[in-house]
Amino acid sequence: MSFLLECPNCGRRPVDEYAYGGEVTVRPKSADDARALFSYLYFRKNDAGAQREWWFHSSGCREWFQAERDTRTNEVMQVAPPGGLT
C-alpha cells in the first residue's frame, strides 16, 4: 500500500500518514435483534470494489474523514468530512 490519499483538510498525502478506521457502518439502536447487533460488531462486508470507509489523519490534522475507495485498485473516488460523501 503506497497510494496517495487526499485529506479534506490537508490535501494529498501518502497513505502511511493515516490510520484506517474501517468500513462506514450503521449502529443498531437496540439489543433486541441479537443477530443484527453481532453482525454489526463482528462482521464486515469486505467488498471487492467501492467501499465507504473512515480514515484518521494521524500524522496530519488528526481529524477523521470519510473516503470512497475501490478496494481492488486503491483508486479513491471521493473524500469528504464525516457524513459528507455523496
Partner: protein
C-alpha cells in the same frame, strides 16, 4: 602505470592517485576508478568465490549486473566493486572464501568429492539421512551459506536518511534514451529527475568509442542545461503503487513520487553457456570494452572473442586498437569475414560455436567447433557476447508484462501500467543463440549467482519442474543477487531445449523479477534508527536519584528508587510522591461536552457537579473494557479526562471518532505532553501540601473526589482528590514547563514528613492492596465490566444511548460466566502472574496480578475465576508455572482499608 594512452571518454583522472587496501594489501588506483577497475589494473583477476561450489570468479559484466565482483567494503557486505568508486583509505575484503581467495576449503571439498552431492535440490536430498544428523549438517550449511560477514555493531553510529521527493517525471536509466526523454520532459517545463546507477552517463555511448563518448557528454550537458536533476550513481529499487520509487544513493533513500515514470533501463548483454564459462578471464564484451575505453586498461595479451552478433566484432576492434592480440573472433553466424576484422587482420571463424574454456584458476585456452571440426585456441581473455536483452524487471514489477518473441529474439512489452512509460529499444540480437554447448567437459553455468548449471536446470525439468517459474523455485535460478539479469534468458533457452519446444512457448514462460533489483542494505531500507522516547518534566530528577528508568509505552518511568518496600511503607505511614505525568489527558469542551461523555462512558456525567471528579471506564461497542481513568468537571462545558498512560493516543482517536460520527458540538484536545501530574499520597499529604497553597484542603471544603484549581508553590494547578494507591492523596496537574519546580517544592514541603519518591513497582503493590485493576493487565480484549467486578459503573438505566450499551445488556441477560476477583494466598507463596486457577487439574482461570504485601503479611492477587467460584471466601487452587500448587481463597473487598476510611480522611 599500466594504462593505455589518454583518450576522450575515459573516467580516470591521471593526475590524482587514490590509495586503498585489498585484503590488507595497499593498492593504488586513479581517481575515477571503480574498485574493480583499480584492482584489475593492479593485476587482480580473482574477485570472489562462487556461492555453492566456491569456484574462483573474476570480472564478468563490469556494470553491476552480475554477482562476480561482490566484495565487502569498510564492513558493508555485498558491495558491487565495479559500481563503487574508490575512495582514499577504503578497506576492501573478499567474501565467501576461507581461508583465502586462492585456497578455499569448500572448493577443495566440492571438487575432491564429486559425490558430495551438491546437485540441484541437494539440501532436500543429500542431508535428509540419517535424520538425527540434520542438526550437525545444519550448523555446517549455515556457516557455509551467505555472502559476506555482518558485524552487528558495524556502523551503528552512521545515519541513514530518508528523503521525500516529488517530481513530475522520473527517468530511470541514464542511457541515450533516458537522457533524451529527460531532456524532452524538462524542456516542456516539467520537473524532471534522472537516476543512473553507472559511473558514467550515456549508457552504451559511454564505453563504445570516442565519437559515442562525445555524444554521451553532449547529451549529459544538454540534460543539465535543461534543468534535469541527475542522481548518479544511484539506483531505483522498484516501482510501487502511486508511482512511488525508492532511489538509493549513498546512505540515503529518496522516496520519489513521480507524476510519470520513464523506464529507460536499457539492454543487458548476456553470457553464452558453455563448459568453463565462469573461469576468471571469461568476460562479457561490454565488460571488456568498459575496462578498455573507460578505465584504459589493456585487458589481456591474447584474446578470443565468442559472439553471436556484431557486439563481439566491435569489442575485437576495441581490443586490437588497445594493442591486445585478438587471435580469433568465433562467430555463430555463417558468412564472410567482417570487413572491420579484415582491416585489423583478425581471423573471423564463422559458423563456429564455443565448446569449452579450459584453465586452472584462470582461462588458458578455449575449444570451439563447427560440426565435427574442433579447434583449440590458447588465450588469456575470452570475450563473449550472447546478444542482449531488455532489462524489463522494473516494468514487470510495476505491473506490466512482457513476452519473449523468438523470431526477433527479444522480450516485448505487452502491457505498460498507467503512469509508466518505456523508452529505448527492445532490440536484441538477430542471430540464433545456442542454449548451451555440446561436447564440452565440465560445468556449464546458467546462473552465476547461485551456481546453477545446465545439468541442474535439465534435471529440474526431468523431475517435472517444467517451466521457468517452477524450475526457478527448485533450482533457485534467477533468484540470486542479480535477480535474473544474467540468467533469465539463458535458463529459458535451456528449458525450451530440454522440453524440445521454442523458447517463446507459453509453457517456458517469463518470471517476475522482484525488487530490489540490486543488493540493498537493510540499513538503507530501515533508515535512521529512531527510538523516540518521551520523558516527563522530572525525568532527570528521577534518574539522578537512582530511579530505575524503564520503558512504559513510549515513556520512561522509574520502576523504583532502589528500595520498593521502603517506598511502599512511606506512602502508608507518612508521605510519598509519584510522577504520574504519563497519564493521558484530554480536554473535552463545548456545549455538548457533558452529553458527549454520557454517550462514550457507561456511567453518568450529565448530573455531575462542578469541581468533582469521577472514575470511569471506556467500553467498546462490544462491551469490552478499552481504557479507564478519571473525569473532572471544570465548568458547565468543560471536562478534564485522564486515561491510562498507554491509552492516550487511542482514546483521543476513539473520542474524536465518535464525535465525528455524532457531529456533536464539542471538541477534544489531547494535552498529555503539555501537563505534568504528580500524586502526593500518604496520611501527611494534606499537611504537607497546605504549606504550599492557600487553597482550603480541609476535608469539608475539599472532600474525596473533589477537583479544584489552586496555586501550589506559585504554579497554577488542578487538584484531584483521588486515591489509586489507597491513602489520602492529591493528584496535582500543572503545566509541564513548571513540573520540575513543583516537584522539587513538593519534595521540600514533605521533607519534615520523610517524604519518599516512589516508582511504578511500589504503586503496583499499593493499588493491588486496594484491588484496583489495571486495564490491559487485569483485563484483556474479552473483558467486560459486569464480569470484571464493576457492575456498579454500568448505568443500564441511563436514558440515552451509550457505546457498549447493547452488548452489555446482552451480557446482563446472559449472566456472568467468569469473574475478576481478589484472592489471598493460603501458604505465603506468591503465584506468578499468569499462574492458572485449576479445578481437578484442569485450568479454569488465571492470575493477572500478584504480590506479597508486607503491610498485610500475605500473598494477594487478582484472578479470573469461573462465576461459580466467585463468592467471597471460596477456596481456589492456583497452579504456578514452577509446578507448585498454591491454595487461596476468593476475596471481594479491598485487602486494605475496604471501607475507604483512610482514603476519605
Amino acid at each position: 602505470m599500466n594504462r593505455l594512452a589518454e583518450r576522450r571518454g575515459e573516467l580516470i583522472d591521471r593526475g590524482r592517485t587514490v590509495t586503498f587496501t585489498w585484503r590488507g594489501k595497499t593498492v593504488e588506483g586513479l581517481a575515477g576508478d571503480s574498485v574493480a577497475s583499480a584492482l584489475y589494473a593492479d593485476g587482480v583477476r580473482v574477485f570472489s568465490r562462487s556461492f555453492k561450489y566456491h569456484r574462483p570468479r573474476g570480472l564478468l559484466c563490469c556494470s553491476g549486473q552480475c554477482p562476480n565482483c561482490l566484495v565487502q567494503v569498510d564492513g558493508d557486505p555485498a558491495v558491487r566493486a565495479c559500481m563503487t568508486p574508490i575512495e582514499e583509505g577504503m578497506r576492501v575484503e573478499h567474501i565467501n572464501a576461507w581461508p583465502s581467495l586462492e585456497r578455499d576449503a569448500l572448493h577443495a571439498l566440492a571438487s575432491a568429492t564429486p559425490a558430495f552431492g551438491m546437485q540441484v535440490g541437494f539440501y532436500y536430498k543429500t542431508f535428509m539421512r540419517p535424520r538425527w544428523a540434520w542438526k550437525y549438517y545444519e550448523k555446517f550449511l549455515r556457516s557455509a551459506a551467505g555472502l559476506g560477514k555482518l558485524d552487528p555493531q558495524h556502523r551503528r553510529d552512521r545515519r541513514y536518511e530518508k528523503v521525500h521527493r516529488h517530481v513530475d517525471v522520473l527517468v530511470i536509466g541514464g542511457g541515450e534514451s533516458g537522457l533524451e526523454a529527460a531532456i524532452a520532459a524538462a524542456r516542456e517545463g516539467r520537473d524532471t529527475a534522472l537516476v543512473e546507477e553507472g559511473l558514467a552517463l550515456g549508457g552504451r555511448l559511454a564505453f563504445t568509442g570516442v565519437d559515442a563518448a562525445a555524444r554521451a557528454a553532449e547529451l549529459a550537458a544538454a540534460a543539465r542545461e535543461a534543468g534535469v536533476e541527475i542522481l548518479q550513481p544511484a539506483w531505483a529499487g522498484g516501482v510501487y503503487e502511486g508511482n512511488l520509487v525508492p532511489v538509493y544513493q549513498g546512505d540515503t533513500m529518496f522516496r520519489f513520487r513521480a507524476g510519470e515514470i520513464v523506464l529507460a533501463t536499457g539492454l543487458i548483454e548476456q553470457p553464452l553457456v558453455f563448459a568453463g564459462n565462469d573461469l576468471p578471464g571469461v568476460m562479457l564484451a561490454s565488460g571488456v570494452r568498459r575496462l578498455v575505453n573507460q578505465f584504459r586498461i589493456a585487458t589481456g595479451d591474447e584474446a578470443v572473442v565468442l559472439t553471436v552478433d556484431d557486439l563481439g566484432i566491435e569489442a575485437a576492434c576495441d581490443l586490437a586498437e588497445a594493442g591486445v592480440t585478438v587471435s580469433a573472433v568465433v562467430d555463430t553466424r555463417e558468412g564472410e569475414t567482417d570487413e572491420r576484422l579484415g582491416v585489423c587482420g583478425i581471423e573471423h571463424l564463422r559458423g563456429f560455436r564455443p565448446v569449452e574454456a579450459r584453465g586452472r584458476g584462470h582461462v588458458s585456452s578455449v575449444v570451439v567447433a563447427r560440426g565435427g571440426e574442433r579447434r583449440s585456441l590458447s588465450t588469456d581473455l575470452v570475450v563473449m557476447s550472447g546478444g542482449t536483452v531488455a532489462q524489463f524487471g522494473a516494468l514487470v514489477q510495476a505491473g506490466g508484462s512482457v513476452h519473449y518473441d523468438a523470431a526477433r529474439r527479444v522480450y516485448v512489452p505487452d502491457h505498460v501500467p498507467a503512469g509508466v512509460r518505456v523508452a529505448g529499444e527492445p532490440a536484441g540480437t538477430a542471430a540464433e543463440v545456442p542454449a548451451c554447448a555440446d561436447g564440452g567437459r565440465g560445468k556449464q553455468f546458467v546462473c552465476y549467482c547461485e551456481d546453477v548449471t545446465t545439468k541442474d536446470v535439465n534435471l529440474s525439468v526431468k523431475e517435472g519442474f517444467a517451466s521457468l517459474e517452477l524450475s526457478k523455485r527448485y533450482t533457485t535460478v534467477t533468484m540470486g543477487p542479480c535477480q535474473g539479469k544474467m540468467c533469465h534468458r539463458n535458463s529459458g533457452l535451456v528449458i525450451a531445449r530440454e522440453l524440445g519446444v521454442d523458447p517463446d512457448e507459453q509453457r517456458v514462460g517469463v518470471t517476475t523479477a522482484r525488487p530490489p533489483h540490486n543488493p540493498t542494505s537493510f540499513s538503507l531500507l530501515a533508515g535512521r534508527g529512531y527510538e523516540p522516547v518521551k520523558r516527563t518534566s522530572v525525568h532527570h530528577w528521577h534518574a539522578d536519584r537512582g530511579g530505575k528508568m524503564l520503558w512504559a509505552g513510549d515513556w520512561k518511568r522509574p520502576y523504583d528508587y532502589g528500595a520498593p518496600d521502603d517506598e511502599t511503607a512511606a506512602v502508608h505511614e507518612s508521605l510519598g510522591l509519584i510522577d504520574v505525568s504519563t497519564l493521558g489527558k484530554l480536554i473535552v469542551r463545548g456545549p455538548d461536552a457533558a452529553a458527549f461523555l454520557e454517550r462514550v462512558y457507561p456511567n453518568r456525567y450529565g448530573d455531575m457537579k462542578l469541581a468533582r471528579v469521577r472514575y470511569g471506564i471506556v467500553c467498546g461497542d462490544d462491551g469490552s473494557i478499552l481504557d479507564d481513568g478519571t473525569v473532572a468537571r471544570l465548568s458547565e462545558t468543560e471536562f478534564y479526562v485522564t486515561t491510562t498512560s498507554s491509552g492516550a493516543g487511542g482514546m483521543e482517536q476513539w473520542f474524536t471518532w465518535w464525535n465525528a460520527v455524532w457531529g456533536m458540538d464539542c471538541q477534544i484536545v489531547n494535552v498529555t505532553s503539555a501537563i505534568a501530574a504528580f500524586n502526593l499520597a500518604g496520611p501527611n499529604a494534606r499537611t504537607a501540601l497546605a504549606g504550599l497553597t492557600d487553597f482550603d484542603l480541609e476535608n469539608e471544603a475539599f472532600p474525596y473526589l473533589g477537583a479544584g484549581h489552586a496555586e501550589v508553590a506559585g504554579v497554577p494547578c488542578l487538584l484531584l482528590r483521588i486515591g489509586f494507591v489507597g491513602e489520602l492523596g492529591y493528584e496535582i496537574h500543572c503545566p509541564a514547563a513548571a513540573g520540575e519546580h513543583l516537584w522539587e517544592a513538593l519534595m521540600a514541603a514533605g521533607e519534615g514528613f520523610s517524604v519518599k519518591p516512589f516508582g511504578l513497582e511500589p504503586q503496583r503493590v499499593l493499588r493491588l492492596e486496594k484491588m484496583h485493576v489495571i486495564v490491559g493487565q487485569d483485563t484483556n480484549a474479552e473483558s467486560q465490566p459486569l464480569e470484571a467486578g464493576m457492575p456498579w459503573i454500568v448505568k443500564l438505566d441511563k436514558e440515552n444511548d451509550w457505546i457498549g450499551r447493547y452488548s452489555i445488556e446482552w451480557y446482563q441477560n446472559r449472566g456472568n460466566r467468569t469473574s475478576l476477583v481478589g484472592f489471598e494466598g493460603g501458604n505465603g507463596a506468591v503465584p506468578k502472574e499468569g499462574a492458572q486457577v485449576v479445578v481437578n487439574g484442569e485450568p479454569v482461570g488465571r492470575v493477572t496480578s500478584s504480590r506479597f504485601s508486607r503491610r498485610l503479611g500475605k500473598a494477594i492477587g487478582i484472578a479470573w475465576v469461573p462465576a461459580d467460584l466467585s463468592a467471597e471466601g471460596t477456596p481456589i487452587t492456583l497452579s504456578d508455572p514452577s509446578g507448585a500448587t498454591i491454595p487461596a481463597s476468593v476475596t471481594l473487598r479491598a485487602f486494605y482499608d475496604p471501607d475507604q476510611e483512610r482514603l476519605r480522611s
